[in-house]
Amino acid sequence: MAIISEKDLQPIYDVIVVGSGAGGGQSAYTLTMNGVKVLMLEAGRNYDPVTETPMFQIPSQMPLRGMSTRQKPFGFADATVDGGWEVPNEPYTQASEDPKTHFKWWRPRMLGGRTNHWGRISLRNGPYDFKPYSRDGLGFDWPISYEDVAPYYDKVEMLVGVYGSNEGLENTPDSPNGTLLPAPKARAGELFVKKHIAKHGLPVIPIHRAVLSTRQDHVNFPPRLHPGNPKAQKILAKAMQERAACFWATDCGRGCAIKANYQSTTVHLPPALATGNLDILCNAHAREVTLGADGKANGVIYIDKATGQERAVKARAVILAASSGETARIMLNSKSSRFPDGIANGSGLVGKYIMDTVGGRLGGSVPAFENLPVHNEEGAGNHVYIPWWLYKEAGKLGFARGYHIEFGTGRRMPGMGTGGASPGYGKSYKEEVRQKYGAGIGFSGRGEMIPNKDSFCEIDPTTKDKWGIPVLRFHWKWSDHELKQAQHMEQTFHMIIETIGGKPAKMSKTKEEAIEAPGSIIHEVGGALMGADRAKSVTNQWNQCWEVPNLLLNDGSAFCSNADKNPTLTIMALAWRASDHLIEEMRKGNL
């Protein structure tokens, strides 16, 4: 089995996995390592980071010095293929003309999905994050607790490789000894911020990122991850040996040809393919999940993008991991006499309570950083961050939930912004460019959004994509919790920049201006909530749809809250947990 073309499809699989990113990759990995025969459908093209990643290319080798365009929004060298907030031939619509209600929907169309370009920030949800309703009466509790998920966080961290440290801070979980890889050293500017803001109670600590700071322990990790499964251990040991440690030079967002960072295409899929149990079909755009007479999911209808033809494939169970928006769309488009409003949507909750992360930002310049003695500050993206530090103040802030702070400093690869704004010309101009280079600082907040009934997606009654598939229509509304939180972020960044003697950029005039546009942060989750009550949720705690238990939702769609912690690590942990449970249920004959 391998990356196949349509003629090689088997008549029936144990499981079809729709999507190849964090959720799909983890599901396929867990299932195939345990002998389950899987077909993975990917809407985009095949993609190989080992041969396609422009590791050391500099802007002068790229068109327009790598400028960001609508078709490559993160710049020319970004790993994303055929993706962005606008995808050709695949529209989506907004319910209202009011821009404040618009949701920007990011979609990649490539093997590995958005794992190829993501920030690799891998923070665990803490105990509070699974029980937000119990703490402040807002949103929903998860039907699981931190203790249920912790063993899977351990496993995912060992499998994908995460650098970081244990700091013992509130609701910021430690990992068991030996699980994390060593944190890289902080950069000069990061240490400077740490020193000067300690008096304000803001901790600057090593961030957790899915990057190999050292090579993985290929001797001890495989038996811990796959006890009693020598074949899986052997395959994983080999896969781990094929990954090199980070060489601290290039932008993770381009992808990683040496497999030092996690992307599904370099970490999940190679060992899954090596089991011989995985077929991957690319350019296969899933349209709907089909339902058997017994009320179970029995396959998927997809569009072969090369020919535009509609095809059907069969399986004993189906996992949707197409991204929360696309998963909701597939479910809502899967209509039958039993489920006229979409498969497993008797509750009417599919598409409801969609969330993004609350984003805020402020930059500035710091005189102290000027003329810093030249040294290599490239490293590997973020090395440190500031976790939410005001849990004790929750009732006094005017907004309910917290945020963490990511920030960047240093003498990083020059781009079109370098030197452009200094006055004059000639020697004195160049002198000033040198002085100012690396003297900038940028802060971003990443905060928790509380799910609300006004933020949802549904099927647009008229608009269809190129293949005739009805598209999503979005509704969005921030609550005051999110708006005030974004304003608090800006005020905090302003305070930090002034504290380090810097000059902050201009602040927003209103809280509506302070918050980044919905969908900007690309932490789209929700739309098929997990819950303890089948009348009030779409899936149970095992990501199984209540009404169709052999249909699992293993991406972010089952999230019923969106903690400030970036969602990918939790998506992977829950996908592993759900896949383990699926295997058990299949063995028992319960599905």
Partner: protein, 224 residues
């Protein structure tokens, strides 16, 4: 130079304020690059105006100006652009460094103003008419083309429009030209290997460990 103190950040003079604004713009670029999503969705293509970079370009190759879309500058405009680029970005060590024009910065500027994207297209009339003007102005003042002037003569024109000292009303359009041209020239230059070395960027080089800040850097920041 003027440094605002953290106690009274508003007490900076206008010149310092302008400098800071520039640095803040650069800082915003750092923010975009390092921290999550870009604020702007990216340059908007102009449909039908030429071949776009597209959604799936080959990334592992070196692109040359003129490869994706045809270029704009006339031979005379190119000659003027070369002279202005080398005036703005003179080599620190003429014996060892190449001129910015020898690194093809004018080709990049031509690529930029010729590109089928809205922000690039907005620069095109500014740059083209500015280059025509600078030759005409050289003719008016010295009866020569701009490139044929000696250094002092070139500076006489550049000083009037570069914005370092107050710019006369009649040169406001030329000031806008000079600012955009300098911005494009600097972006073009500092993204070349020589430009990176010039500004003090020493990354993009593999190493076994991330060494972190040097003792000198820590001392500079009062951290050692």
């Amino acid at each position: 130079m003027e440094k605002p103190s953290s106690e009274s950040p508003n007490r900076i003079d206008r010149r310092a304020a302008l400098k800071w604004m520039g640095a803040v713009v650069a800082a915003a670029a750092v923010t975009d690059k390092l921290l999550g999503a870009p604020k702007d969705p990216g340059a908007k293509p102009i449909e039908g105006a030429g071949r776009l970079i597209g959604t799936d370009p080959v990334l592992n190759k070196t692109y040359s100006p003129g490869e994706l879309w045809s270029l704009t500058l006339t031979p005379a405009q190119r000659v003027a652009a070369i002279a202005l680029i080398d005036l703005i970005l003179p080599p620190d060590n003429p014996a060892t460094d190449k001129l910015a024009s020898q690194l093809g910065v004018q080709d990049f500027i031509d690529e930029w103003i010729s590109a089928p994207y809205e922000n690039c297209a907005a620069d095109k009339p500014v740059i083209v008419s500015g280059l025509d003007w600078i030759d005409a102005e050289a003719g008016r003042r010295f009866q020569k083309k701009f490139a044929e002037l000696d250094e002092a003569q070139k500076c006489q024109i550049a000083d009037d429009i570069c914005g370092k000292t107050p710019v006369k009303k009649e040169f406001k359009a030329q000031q806008q030209f000079f600012g955009r041209f300098r911005s494009l020239a600097a972006g073009g230059y500092y993204t070349t290997p020589q430009g990176m070395k010039d500004v003090g960027y020493v990354g993009n080089v593999p190493s076994v460990d991330f060494a972190g800040p040097t003792p000198e850097a820590l001392k500079h920041l009062g951290l050692a």
